[in-house]
């Protein structure tokens, strides 16, 4: 009874994150609305076919809303402050004359179709990126992801796991205390009363519970033999810190136009190497073992590959048909569909067939 359940295990969380980030890469390399909408559609399809019914599975809808608001904010900014201008005026707002030093800005004034289109072309990639991250959140189990982190980060991952299980307990604690409040006939809603009769008891409860959990974890060996030699600990922290600094500097250099590309990539690579070294170094010295190593199987590779098809497609299109990847907004035209990129994104829908949703294990209620 166990074997089939394990065979139909959902894909590895790292595979889902890789897939989503590759899809996001494709989205960040284009402003073509057809392509971006296709990416959103594909991510929605995969999420609705592959997600389980865990608490985090609803994340996708939240990210959709955040994405929509990103476009709305971009559009509001354009309407109020202006931006790219065009000849097809849709409507005009009353405008305020700004002093000369604020040239280039306007407040109110004519709103053109070209400008609105450019604004939405600006907003859509960001929204798509957010939706891709939402897809990863909905698909990848955070608990399984934490189990895959290197042993060196074990303490951090335990803290996150505990936090994950405390949140639902807090919610049920609030419900319990509120019902007890009604038993006292206390339904006043002023903040001081709520503080005293709901917040304080709930926090008291949470504190008691975390002390009990800490004692239980200690008596089960958590934090045992943490006393690795102090010099080793210092070396590891130094490597990790240098690695993180290197990564930040590299990323900054890469995004800023002033630094030559080879220097930027070099910094990034150095930083990554230091971080990896630090983690590997520390992991060797951690005395814990894992009960189940989460194997990265053929299906997980397939998920990752399907995601990279989307990224590859956008690279091919960028070389072969650059006009369709970055469509012009002035004059107004219907943007063409970049074929290679669209084909790649369609391949990225493959996980919907490869790893469809399996009901999460549950017993009788």
């Amino acid at each position: 009874m166990n074997a089939p359940a394990r065979a139909r295990r959902p894909a590895h969380p790292v595979a889902w994150w890789g897939w989503a980030l590759l899809l996001a890469t494709a989205a960040s390399r284009t402003a073509n609305p057809w392509l971006l909408l296709l990416i959103i559609a594909v991510s929605g399809l995969v999420v609705s076919w592959c997600r389980g019914d865990e608490p985090w599975s609803g994340a996708y809808r939240v990210f959709l809303a955040i994405g929509a608001s990103a476009i709305a904010i971009r559009m509001t900014f354009y309407i109020v402050f202006g931006g790219a201008e065009g000849t097809t005026v849709l409507f005009a707002l009353p405008s305020i004359r700004l002093p000369d030093w604020a040239a280039g800005f306007r407040l109110g004034g004519a709103v053109s179709a070209e400008g609105a289109l450019a604004a939405s072309y600006d907003g859509l990639p960001l929204a798509t990126l957010l939706v891709c991250v939402g897809a990863a959140n909905a698909l990848a189990s955070p608990r399984r992801l934490l189990r895959s982190v290197p042993a060196a980060l074990y303490e951090v991952s335990v803290a996150v796991v505990v936090a994950l299980s405390v949140a639902p307990q807090l919610v049920s604690g609030v419900a319990r205390i509120r019902k007890a409040r009604a038993l006292r006939g206390n339904t006043k809603r002023n903040p001081a009363n709520l503080m005293r009769t709901v917040v304080v008891p709930v926090l008291h409860d949470a504190l008691d519970r975390s002390l009990a959990l800490a004692a239980a974890m200690a008596s089960r060996g958590y934090g045992r033999a943490a006393g690795a030699a102090a010099s080793t600990r210092r070396t590891t922290s130094a490597l990790l810190l240098m690695g993180l600094l290197g990564l930040c500097a590299g990323a900054y250099a890469l995004l800023g136009p002033a630094t030559p590309a080879p220097v930027a990539w070099g910094l990034l690579a150095l930083g990554a190497a230091a971080a990896v070294l630090g983690i590997a170094f520390a992991s060797k010295r951690v005395p814990h073992t894992r009960y189940r190593t989460d194997a990265f199987g053929a299906r997980d590779w397939a998920v990752l590959l399907s995601g990279s098809a989307a990224a590859m497609g956008s690279i091919v299109s960028a070389a072969a048909e650059p006009g369709s990847i970055w469509p012009a907004t002035n004059p107004l035209t219907m943007p063409p569909l970049p074929l290679a990129a669209a084909f790649g994104v369609l391949i990225a829908a493959a996980p919907a067939i490869l790893v469809p949703n399996t009901p999460t294990k549950a017993g009788p209620a």
């Binding site: 006939g185 004692a215 089960r220 814990h288 009960y291 017993g363």
Partner: protein
């Protein structure tokens, strides 16, 4: 195996253990006995170093487990020598999955994967968890959860297992599951078990020896000898002392062997009637009450009528719908269908302030009702909430329990005092219907006896008292009528003596020895009357 050498422990200036010297040999099932607040948890937690590592305090003397000194190790270092199981398994779970939870300690010890798998499989078979191995912890019953907690403590292969009230929150069936699993561990693995429990009637038959903790000092011996002069003892021991049986016997089997002469003496006597004399129209009437949650129907069509003066015990397994029914009767909880009438009024149609003057409920966590910083402030708040004359609540509290320090924080009170305070707060509104959800958890025998007396007094004063409980001995002391729920339906309803004697699961110890009699007090009264004649 577990050895205490002149151990003294004190929080600040308050001594808990005084010069304790004990020695528990390998493979022994040892029971730790004592009143509430005697320091049982402190003693148990000092064995793996949680006391004083997690609590502070001053300790002198030496504790060794399996030859390892506790003083020089942290609780984590001792994880492979001592397994520790607490009363509430949910509070100690780190993961959300049975297998991973079982493997947790082994992961911490850094055992290789193959060894870990083998150990987990052994534990699963030993504790009968094979059916639930792949489930999430949330989907388990309370008895299964407690067995998972025991298994999780055993995976590292400790030579001693320490359990602090492992069956207190369990129904009789689940408690039996857990205790027979422990019994098997002692016999098959040779684990040394030290266990503290309030409900001695459940565990004493498994014990090889007992320790009595009183005023910080420990007396050791055989279970019979130790319980004979303990302030807390199961009814069978009291009956044995009353009838001067040698031992006294601690198990039903032993006691039955001595019981024949006593049965003959009682042959002509009848226990007093428990049903209240007051009749009239029912105070509480329900029709087909149902409570639905998202996927389950917790209460399924309950029809109940109750008179003033009745003392009703609501029994049934964990999850049979007792709490949901009580909350629905009070009107604050959810009710999906059916009718509830208290004195002709539907409580859920009233505002909360008015509702509590009709039906009062003491929840299973009495502390949820309390939020002032001192007992005095709590009582004054209750008077204000209930528009009662100043001093009402304080007076009720004084009637219920003596010498509560009015300046103490409600959370610092003993379990019994805290329950009494929550009860007094509830009674300030003078509700005719009084509901209590699992009030006996954490109370020792004297505590339960005094609760039963108080509740009987309230019923005699015209309240209708309904108590949900697993505790068969408390039911024997308290109830005039027993209602048994199963899967949200009433499966039995009638006079206490008839219902509890019909099922071995719900029968109190005295009934098992002397059919027809429920409590030692009844037997003593009958014998006294007999002697007078």
């Amino acid at each position: 195996m577990i050895h205490f050498d002149r151990v003294t422990f004190a929080y600040d200036e308050r001594p808990v253990l005084r010069d304790v010297t004990i020695d528990i040999p390998e493979g022994e099932f040892c029971l730790l006995v004592g009143s509430t607040g005697a320091g049982k948890s402190t003693l148990l937690r000092s064995i793996n170093g949680l006391v004083p590592h997690f609590t502070g305090g001053t300790m002198t003397g030496e504790i060794t487990v399996a030859g390892r000194r506790v003083r020089t190790s942290s609780p984590a270092d001792l994880a492979d020598a001592v397994g520790y199981v607490s009363q509430d398994p949910l509070a100690g779970f780190v993961t959300d999955d049975v297998e991973l939870e079982l493997a947790y300690t082994a992961e911490q010890l850094g055992l290789p994967q193959a060894t870990m798998r083998k150990r987990v499989t052994e534990i699963v078979d030993l504790l009968g968890l094979a059916d639930v191995r792949g489930r999430t912890l949330a989907a388990l019953s309370s008895g299964q959860r407690q067995r998972v907690a025991i298994g999780a403590a055993l995976v590292a292969g400790p030579s001693a297992l320490v359990l602090d009230e492992p069956t207190s929150a369990l129904d009789p069936g689940a408690a039996d599951e857990v205790l027979s699993a422990l019994h098997r561990l002692v016999h098959d693995l040779g684990v040394t078990v030290l266990l503290a429990e309030h409900r001695l009637e459940r565990v004493v038959q498994y014990a090889d020896s007992a320790l009595l903790l009183r005023d910080g000092t420990v007396t050791a011996g055989g279970p019979g000898a130790v319980l004979a002069d303990s302030p807390v003892a199961p009814p069978v021991v009291h009956l044995g002392k009353l009838a001067h049986w040698p031992g006294p016997p601690v198990t039903i089997r032993e006691a039955r062997r001595h019981a024949a002469p006593l049965r003959e003496r009682l042959a002509g006597e009848r226990p007093p009637q428990r049903a209240p004399v007051a009749a009239g129209s029912p105070l509480l009437e329900t029709g087909a009450v149902a409570v639905d949650y998202s996927r389950v129907r917790a209460v399924d069509g309950v029809d109940l009528a109750a008179l003033r003066g009745e003392r009703i015990a609501l029994m049934g397994r964990n999850g049979s719908g007792k709490s949901s029914l009580l909350w629905a009767l009070q009107g604050t909880g959810r009710r999906s269908a059916g009718t509830v009438r208290i004195d002709g009024v539907d409580p859920s149609s009233l505002r909360p302030g008015r509702r509590r003057t009709v039906a009062g409920l003491v929840p299973s966590e009495p502390a949820d009702l309390l939020y002032a910083e001192t007992v005095r402030a709590e009582c004054e708040g209750a008077d204000r909430d209930g528009d009662a004359p100043s001093g009402t609540c304080a007076k009720i509290l004084a009637d219920l329990v003596e010498d509560v320090d009015a300046g103490a924080h409600p959370r610092d009170l003993s379990e019994g005092q805290r329950l009494a305070l929550a009860l007094a707060v509830t009674l300030t509104a003078a509700p005719p219907l009084l509901l209590l959800d699992e009030p006996t958890r954490g109370l020792d025998y004297p505590g339960k006896a005094s609760l039963a007396t108080r509740l009987r007094g309230l019923a005699d004063a015209g309240h209708c008292v309904i108590v949900s409980t697993h505790d068969v001995e408390f039911v024997a002391e308290f109830a005039s009528r027993v209602v048994i729920l199963s899967d949200g339906r009433v499966v039995a309803d009638g006079p206490a003596c008839r219902i509890v004697s019909a099922s071995p699961m719900f029968a109190p110890q005295v009934e098992k020895i002397l059919p027809g009699w429920l409590t030692v007090a009844e037997v003593a009264a009958a014998l006294g009357a007999d002697d007078d004649r």
